[in-house]
């Protein structure tokens, strides 16, 4: 009995130790939210796990305390934009906002910029929905990281990301407004750092991390550290590609039957005259000397005397 108990404990230990992936742990705890559909999940900002979207456009990060270092804080206006990465995505932007950096002319057209995730496979992801669901209808905006009203940047591709209308209006604009009006009123400077947060190789950011700190009054006027969600209530987004659809109306995954029948690869057993699905376990078990891979229409195989495997049902 004692030995049996020890075996169970050992087995449990092995299972727990093998759960090194947080995602796997989450799946067991019932938190396994697919990161590429619905709201963005698995969001981590500076090592802090961000809660899933819950009807609030933004949440505090680090208790709302910005993390500018003494070396970073300055009263000299400037702006910085990261180079795009290998996937064409924007990186961190930061600026010291002063009245001298603010625009003196109207905003120009920015439609020439195609941020990552705006299109996928040559097709625009900027779908139009009922205006009751999305203000203006179109789900996406080219969202400025450093807002135009702060630094006057127009069609700068290092400063524009694919963001929902909700992110732009409810999540980012309020902070830009607050900084802009504070700087105009006080003539002080505000440190502003804006970082798009991507999950892995996703083309569309899960959201935007924003930090602000007013310099001359040591944060008495402007002081925040927040994450704004890139969501559109009522609509689900595939953050890997930017594709989107009405909640609950996810497109069917591409099925074998919808593939071109002439471009499907099968595994043949030349000995048993059976053919199998490529990648199936029964196909993988065939001895090398009897195995052959063929990309063709299944009827061709049947005409040659092959029959489909009853297990993997190709």
């Amino acid at each position: 009995m004692k030995r049996k108990l020890l075996s169970v404990i050992a087995l449990l230990l092995v299972v727990v130790m093998s759960l090194t992936s947080c995602q796997l742990l989450d799946s067991i705890l019932g938190n396994d939210d697919t990161p590429t559909t619905g709201g963005p999940l698995n969001i981590v900002v500076n090592g802090e796990k961000i809660p899933s979207f819950d009807k609030k456009a933004y949440v505090n990060v680090n208790g709302g305390v910005p993390t500018f270092t003494e070396e970073e804080i300055t009263t000299k206006s400037y702006e910085f934009y990261s180079e795009l990465d290998s996937l064409g995505r924007c990186g961190v932007t930061h600026a010291c906002i002063g009245v001298d950096l603010m625009p003196t002319e109207d905003r120009e057209e920015i439609g020439s910029v195609t941020p990552s995730g705006w299109k996928y496979n040559g097709k625009s992801n900027n779908n139009k929905y009922d205006t009751k669901l999305v203000e203006g209808g179109y789900i996406y905006n080219r969202c400025h990281l450093i807002g135009f009203q702060l630094a006057g940047e127009n069609a700068n591709n290092k400063n524009l990301v694919t963001g929902t209308r909700y992110l732009n209006i409810e999540g980012m604009l309020p902070f830009e407004n607050m900084i802009a009006d504070y700087v105009k009123e006080t003539k002080n400077h505000v440190m502003f750092r804006v970082t798009p947060i991507y999950d892995g190789d996703n083309l569309v950011p899960s959201g935007i991390h924003m930090e602000g700190y007013s310099v001359e009054d040591d944060g008495d006027g402007i002081f925040f550290n927040v994450f704004a969600y890139n969501v559109q209530p009522g609509i689900e987004i595939n953050y890997a590609t930017g594709e989107n659809w009405l909640s609950g109306e996810a497109p069917e995954p591409e099925d074998v039957t919808t593939q071109n029948p002439d471009t499907i690869t099968y595994v043949l057993n030349k000995n048993s005259k059976k053919f199998h699905k490529s990648g199936s376990s029964c196909g993988n078990d065939i001895k090398p000397e009897n195995r052959e891979e063929r990309t063709c229409n299944r009827q061709v195989l049947i005409d040659e005397g092959y029959s489909p495997c009853g297990t993997c049902k190709p």
Partner: protein, 134 residues
């Protein structure tokens, strides 16, 4: 009691323990309307009036300290519990959307809009001033 507040488009007042916005022309308007009366404020609001010619009564909760005929400028206090005492509300609207985690919580049922005026601030294109009375 008369209370004066500043609100954004979502009836917000504060974010992260800070006011959403400020405007020196608005402060001048508040002071002008006082006609020499004392203004009850919290310690947080004191800086806004440091250059103004105004008699201030600085209290942790000005609504508790104020009397029936006093005037209070409120930024970071809940108003809901003082509805019985508040017979006039002056709302300055920024006409802007700012971040917010502290909202105006006075139920305006029973108050009547007496006047609406608009003016340009020092850093705000249009500030709307609404006066409500019981």
């Amino acid at each position: 009691m008369k209370v004066i507040v500043c609100l954004d488009e979502r009836r917000g007042m504060m974010f992260n323990n800070r006011r959403q916005s400020r405007d020196s022309v608005l402060i001048e308007d508040v002071v002008k309307d006082l006609c020499g009366e004392k203004l009850f404020i919290s310690p947080y609001s004191e800086k806004l009036f440091e250059n103004a010619d105004v008699k201030l009564k600085v209290k942790d909760n000005p609504l508790k300290a104020a009397k029936r005929d006093s005037v209070c400028f409120i930024e970071n206090c809940s108003l809901a519990d003082f509805k019985d005492e508040i017979d006039e509300v002056v709302i300055y609207l920024w006409n802007r959307h700012y971040p917010c985690d502290f909202y105006f919580d006075l139920n305006m049922e029973g108050y009547t809009l007496k006047s609406v005026t608009e003016f340009e601030g020092s850093s705000h294109e249009k500030i709307t001033k609404e006066v409500y009375i019981k």
